[in-house]
């Protein structure tokens, strides 16, 4: 039982938390790809920028002496999401829309988005330096230790308060996104434009409006993902830049343009990373009693060493691109 709880702590909870972040980021990337047909590299900076906006708001709340029963980061999240959405609309208008108007190739837009990445990255470092910040300087990060000794486990189930909120918030947002895409007029128009942009235009769908809605949704979700990641670990300028390739991997695994695929891809990559670095000896240790001496398990028995955790996502990305570039859910191939 102890082993099972250890597995839950190390793989299920950590994989789920990571998967939620990847999924929220990947949904935005996949929506932008579906509607605007380019790989938006600067998505990481929307995440980091959103996290810093949330951090500023949370600090302001703390300075005004407003205390909240749940972590302040989650309270200010809706405001930060609105600001990030406006910010992403501005970035689109300033940097991508002129290129689209000229009919630039997708790869030109990709490079432009790398330019935006560098600019935002530079601005964030300009104002906040290269150091890291914590949302929990003025409040405590509650850690729940659920005692499972009744079930015969010597270890408790460990989960932090932000992690619980994170999983709940992700679940609710994914559900909301699902209803938006399948029930609302604009959501359906987004799917229509992702399916066939020319026909959407011919049908009388206001494509400029759909583009704006896409940026609003993608920006808000990116802010959510970035803030929650910063709440789980610490906030630093390269917070999301380091995980943008795993997020792309999630979007590509799910099939670019497929919102549900991106969510599944995000969870898949999250679990794959956690599983790959999991130390199997901890679970298999009871076997040592049965196994002969020459086959005793080593102290660490992981698929890959911990320092290669992020590399797992890159390898998955490359393999998927080679074997099935349309993704496991068959995304937009054009």
């Amino acid at each position: 039982m102890t082993e099972l709880v250890f597995f839950t702590n190390q793989v299920i909870i950590s994989g789920l938390v990571l998967g939620c972040i990847y999924a929220l980021g990947a949904v935005g990337i996949t929506l932008i790809f579906g509607i605007l047909r380019f790989a938006h590299f600067a998505h990481s900076e929307l995440m980091t920028g959103g996290a810093f906006i949330a951090f500023l708001l949370a600090s302001a709340f703390a300075a005004w002496g407003i205390t909240t029963p749940i972590p302040t980061g989650f309270v200010v999240l809706p405001i930060a999401m609105v600001i990030t959405a406006i910010l992403s609309l501005g970035i689109d208008k300033g940097f991508y829309a002129p290129l689209r108007k000229r009919g630039a190739k997708p790869v030109t837009l990709l490079i432009a988005s790398i330019g935006v990445t560098l600019m935002v990255q530079g601005l964030i470092r300009l104002f906040f330096g290269a150091g890291s910040y914590s949302f929990f300087e003025t409040e405590t990060k509650d850690v729940f230790r659920i005692d499972l000794s009744a079930l015969g486990s010597t270890r408790p189930l460990v989960i932090t308060e932000p992690q619980v909120f994170m999983i709940v918030v992700t679940f609710v947002s994914v559900l909301a996104l699902h209803f938006f895409l399948t029930r609302s007029r604009l959501g359906k128009a987004m799917r229509a434009m992702a399916d066939n942009a020319d026909l959407a235009q011919v049908s009388g769908i206001n494509t400029a409006l759909v583009v704006r809605v896409t940026w609003i949704v993608a920006g808000a979700l990116a802010c959510m993902a970035g803030t929650m990641l910063a709440l789980d670990v610490t906030l630093k300028p390269d917070l999301a830049f380091n995980i943008i390739i795993p997020i792309f991997a999630a979007a590509i695994v799910g099939g670019l343009g497929q919102a549900y695929g991106a969510i599944a891809g995000g969870l898949l990559i999250g679990f794959a990373e956690s599983l790959a670095v999991f130390n199997w000896t901890m679970v298999l240790r009871p076997l040592n009693g049965v196994l002969p001496d020459w086959l005793q398990l080593p102290a660490t028995l992981a698929l890959v060493p911990t320092e290669y955790k992020l590399t797992v996502a890159f390898v998955i990305l490359v393999v998927v691109l080679l074997v099935r570039p349309t993704g496991i859910f068959k995304g937009a191939s054009s």
């Binding site: 007029r185 359906k188 128009a189 799917r191 229509a192 399916d195 066939n196 020319d198 026909l199 959407a200 235009q201 011919v202 049908s203 009388g204 769908i205 206001n206 494509t207």
Partner: protein
């Protein structure tokens, strides 16, 4: 007054003009058919009306104003609908969602229009939850027409509605087009099956080199020996 009237329309994709003075006039009761050899500018004419390419000369009067170079979403709200030749359904969306997208410009209740469309294409009512990509070619054409009718247009433009269909479906689609016309929707279509389409056309236009070559009723054009010889394959 004509429902739509093109006068000396000149236009193209930016380079040399493809249309060099096209004249077309359609009444609300008309079925207009544009025929002509490849590269004559038939589909280009429809696209020029629908604002999908640049009109550099002439006028397009629709509902009493010049609509040349208007954006498609404005034209749809004005009562113009267009069914492209290829990729004319949202393959990943259900039949019903396809129809809803046709009604995007309408903010009123469009359930009645949807029932009207389902009445015209009963097979679509049966498959309303199925993704349009899973339907047969003929059924897709119906979805495409149904989608275009959802905005309650006064003029429906079709680009080669019979392309790629089996002969049985060609007859069915042509019959449907005549039925739609009887419901009070003007039709302007481009057709490769020229003889078959001209047979029920009240107005026929033979284009060649981006210009009108012959204009008349469908029957007149079929009967004209010169048209028959040069454009209808003898």
């Amino acid at each position: 007054m004509a429902l739509i009237e093109l006068k000396h329309v000149v236009g193209g994709y930016g380079g040399a003009p493809i249309l060099n003075g096209v004249n077309i006039a359609i009444e609300k009761t008309d079925i207009g058919v544009i025929v002509g050899p490849n590269g004559a500018g038939k589909s280009t004419t429809l696209k020029a009306i629908f604002g999908l390419l640049k009109v550099t000369g002439g006028t397009i009067d629709f509902g009493g104003e010049n609509i040349a170079n208007s954006l498609p979403d404005k034209l749809v709200s004005k009562g113009l609908s267009f069914v492209p030749q290829e990729k004319n359904v949202f393959t990943s969306m259900s039949v019903e969602e396809n129809l809803e997208m046709g009604a995007f410009t309408r903010r009123d209740d469009f359930r009645q229009t949807m029932n009207w469309v389902y009445g015209m294409f009963p097979v679509l009512a049966e498959k309303r939850r199925q993704p349009a990509g899973e339907l047969s070619g003929g059924q897709r054409q119906m979805v495409a027409m149904g989608r275009a009718l959802m905005s309650k247009p006064s003029l429906l433009m079709l680009d080669e509605p019979s392309a790629g269909l089996s002969p049985r479906y060609v007859i069915e689609i042509f019959e449907t087009i005549q039925r739609v016309n009887k419901e009070g929707v003007g039709i302007l279509m481009v057709e490769q099956n020229a003889r078959q389409a001209l047979a029920f056309a009240s107005k026929g236009f033979v284009l060649a080199g981006g210009q009108n070559r012959f204009t008349g009723t469908g029957q007149e054009l079929i009967a004209d020996p010169e048209v028959a010889k040069s454009f209808l394959g003898g």
